[in-house]
């Protein structure tokens, strides 16, 4: 703990819209017609709808089997983890902009001659942790019911949904898809349970308490 000056607001109090602003969307492919779309939970979309029997492609009306969602979700999580482990570094000096996978034996030192910039992982562990939390939120029944999810589209976007979903149908659809969402969520939780950052965050809270 770095004392009172190092105190940050508890991350869970930051609204998801803000917290997940840099998170990548979950892209799904329709196994039947190969349409691809962004999945954003039980929200309005021109491409998919949540029916009482699960996720449905609007183009061909294919109903996704749970494994057809979960396999793509897991693959997507693993691509993010693998990109994180590719270990791309970036120099923080904008006049240098060195992007490389080379690491100096002095870690933070930039390898461009004379540059005094500091090297950082371009895909930070904080960003990866947030990405996993974002995927987790999509299948969180409470957040779906309370309409707390990060919106997929903004007014004026080309894909901004034509139809809206009202709150009562979101609530009903969430309950109907609870089992599905629990299985989706278990896929994300598998990786969150191995994510060291989550536990380090806990550690620093305890450090602070011991100081008092």
């Amino acid at each position: 703990g770095s004392g009172i000056n190092g105190l940050q607001p508890l991350e869970s109090t930051i609204p998801d819209t803000e917290r997940f602003k840099d998170a990548a969307n979950l892209k799904l492919n329709c196994p039947n017609c190969s349409a691809t779309f962004d999945f954003g939970g039980i929200v309005a979309s021109n491409y998919y709808s949540m029916s009482y029997n699960g996720l449905q492609c609007k183009k061909c009306e294919h109903l996704f089997a749970p494994l057809q969602i979960n396999s793509q979700l897991e693959r997507s999580i693993r691509s993010h983890i693998s990109l994180y482990y590719a270990g791309w570094l970036q120099c923080d000096d904008p006049t240098c902009g060195n992007v490389t996978r080379q690491i100096s034996v002095f870690g933070k030192r930039c390898l461009n001659d004379g540059c005094t910039g500091v090297m950082r992982y371009r895909y930070s562990d904080k960003k990866l942790y947030n990405q996993l939390l974002y995927f987790d939120s999509l299948f969180n029944c409470e957040k779906n019911k309370n309409c707390e999810l990060k919106p997929l589209y903004h007014t004026g976007d080309r894909d901004f949904p034509q139809e809206k979903l009202n709150e009562s149908s979101i609530k009903a659809l969430t309950e109907q898809n609870r089992n599905l969402f629990e299985s989706n969520r278990s896929v994300v939780q598998k990786y969150l349970s191995d994510c060291a950052r989550r536990y380090v965050d806990m550690g620093s809270i305890f450090d602070f308490m011991q100081q008092r």
Partner: protein, 452 residues
């Protein structure tokens, strides 16, 4: 120590990574100094101008940090913090006739930095090969008795276990039958991926309906339990099965190398299955096996210089590099696989990241040879052509993948090692207060790469 692999992933610290990369140079520097009986004063800082010739140990890196495609004209040597405050110097190889280099390799080199700009190499000192393991006479006799004089038989298979366009496990079903009735090994070493997370049908979500199942699998873990595990459970209980994961295994939540073992109970596999880490070093009787499941043979983008070096078989050279570097995956940065996307961003090519070596750099110490000796047999599966060869008295094997991408039969490795015998002259005695014996497995083993 399997407990050391149980670290949590997804939090690499750049300073910890740098410590490990620095340590790698220091470890080899000490080995070189002892082996060639050099005094500390014969080593120098190759990054600064000097009149005399010096010895230097460092890492082969690209001259420009952003350069990913290098050749022998565009390389530099990185020094350790102690030897050259971590500076890098351009390597001039004009005077070197024969050498083979790759990014991440630690080298010992003799030469001179006459102009302050580059280090002109005159000679690369070959790194000494680590020692082979030994056993006492008592141990040898115990292992001989356990085998009843029969040879030790080990079968090795490597995933993926389905083609790229199906989840049909009939090749595996048939092979398990052959294993039980015909091949009948003492042990089966099985490398992942069991369920390959980069399988094209997983990315596209086009997984099929499994008509013989009453309840369809919901997740990839469930797919293993319902479709693949029942096949593996048919392996006879007197065959010891050793499972080694891949970072492409959907079943592993630990998606980095070094990689924690799979969870046998969660996979609902019987007691004759043992789950080991990746990489893993272990003994079957006296024989030491070193198993690593990252594609070193593909990822070492070796740069040979000189006619004699280039003429040699590439797998021979790469095998020697692995032994000399004393690590199963000495490449740095690790390999990555990406896919060119049809769309561009302002005329620039756009790639999708698919997979990679996924090195957890702070933990690379766990990928070094255990106890500083070479295993008797090293198994490193690769997408490259299957092979089995002897390098520096170590048997190196790539069994080849079990099913080819388009569904054709793949290959497996069949290893047969005659029981150790103190009297038949095949073991080398090393005199001492208690004499010990080299295993000479390369003299006693027969390896066949056969169709599944």
């Amino acid at each position: 120590d399997p407990e050391k692999y149980k670290f949590r992933t997804m939090r690499q610290n750049l300073s910890d990574a740098a410590d490990v990369l620095d340590m790698q140079i220091e470890i080899i520097a000490e080995i070189v100094q002892n082996h060639y009986k050099l005094s500390a004063s014969e080593f120098g800082d190759p990054t600064i101008q000097a009149q005399s010739e010096i010895h230097a140990v460092g890492r082969i890196v690209p001259e420009s940090p952003s350069d990913e495609s290098v050749n022998t004209e565009s390389l530099a040597l990185e020094t350790s913090r102690m030897a050259g405050i971590g500076r890098r110097v351009r390597l001039n190889l004009t005077d070197v006739n024969e050498v083979s280099l790759f990014l991440g390799q630690i080298v010992a080199v003799k030469g001179k930095n006459a102009d302050g700009d580059s280090f002109k190499a005159t000679e690369f000192l070959p790194l000494p090969y680590p020692e082979s393991p030994v056993s006492t006479a008592d141990e040898i006799q115990t292992h001989q008795k356990a085998l009843n004089g029969d040879p030790l038989k080990v079968t090795v298979i490597t995933g993926p276990f389905t083609s790229n366009d199906s989840f049909d496990f009939s090749h595996l079903t048939n092979f398990v039958e052959r294993l039980n009735t015909e091949i009948k090994p003492h042990a089966l070493i099985m490398f992942g991926p069991l369920i390959d997370v980069t399988h094209p049908m997983i990315a596209a979500g086009t997984l099929p309906h499994f008509p013989h199942l009453k309840s369809q699998p919901q997740t990839l873990d469930d797919l293993f339990l319902k479709v693949m595990a029942p096949i593996l459970k048919n392996i006879r209980s007197n065959i010891q099965v050793i499972l080694i994961p891949s970072t492409r295994d959907a079943l592993s939540k630990h998606a980095a190398y070094p990689q924690d073992s799979l969870d046998r109970k969660a996979l609902q596999l019987p007691k004759n299955f043992k789950c080991f880490a990746n990489p893993a070093t272990f003994q079957l009787n006296e024989v030491f096996f070193g198993c690593s499941n990252v594609d070193t043979f593909k990822d070492i983008k070796e740069m040979p210089k000189g006619g004699n070096t280039s003429m040699r078989d590439r797998f021979d050279r790469v095998s020697e590099h692995i032994l000399q570097q004393r690590r199963y995956y000495p490449v740095f940065p690790g390999g990555i696989t990406k896919k060119l996307l049809p769309n561009t961003e302002g005329g620039n090519k756009v790639y999708e990241h698919i997979s990679g070596a996924d090195l957890d750099v702070p933990y690379l110490g766990l990928t070094e040879f255990v106890g500083n000796f070479t295993p008797d047999i090293i198994l490193i599966p690769s997408e490259m052509n299957h092979f089995a060869k002897v390098e520096q008295n170590v048997i190196m094997i790539n069994p080849g993948r079990f099913v080819k991408p388009w569904g054709h039969q793949g290959t497996y490795a069949d290893i047969s090692i005659s029981a150790p015998d103190l009297d038949n002259g095949k073991l080398t005695k090393i005199e001492g207060p208690e004499p010990v014996y080299l295993h000479n497995v390369w003299k006693r083993a027969r390896v066949d790469i056969a169709n599944i």
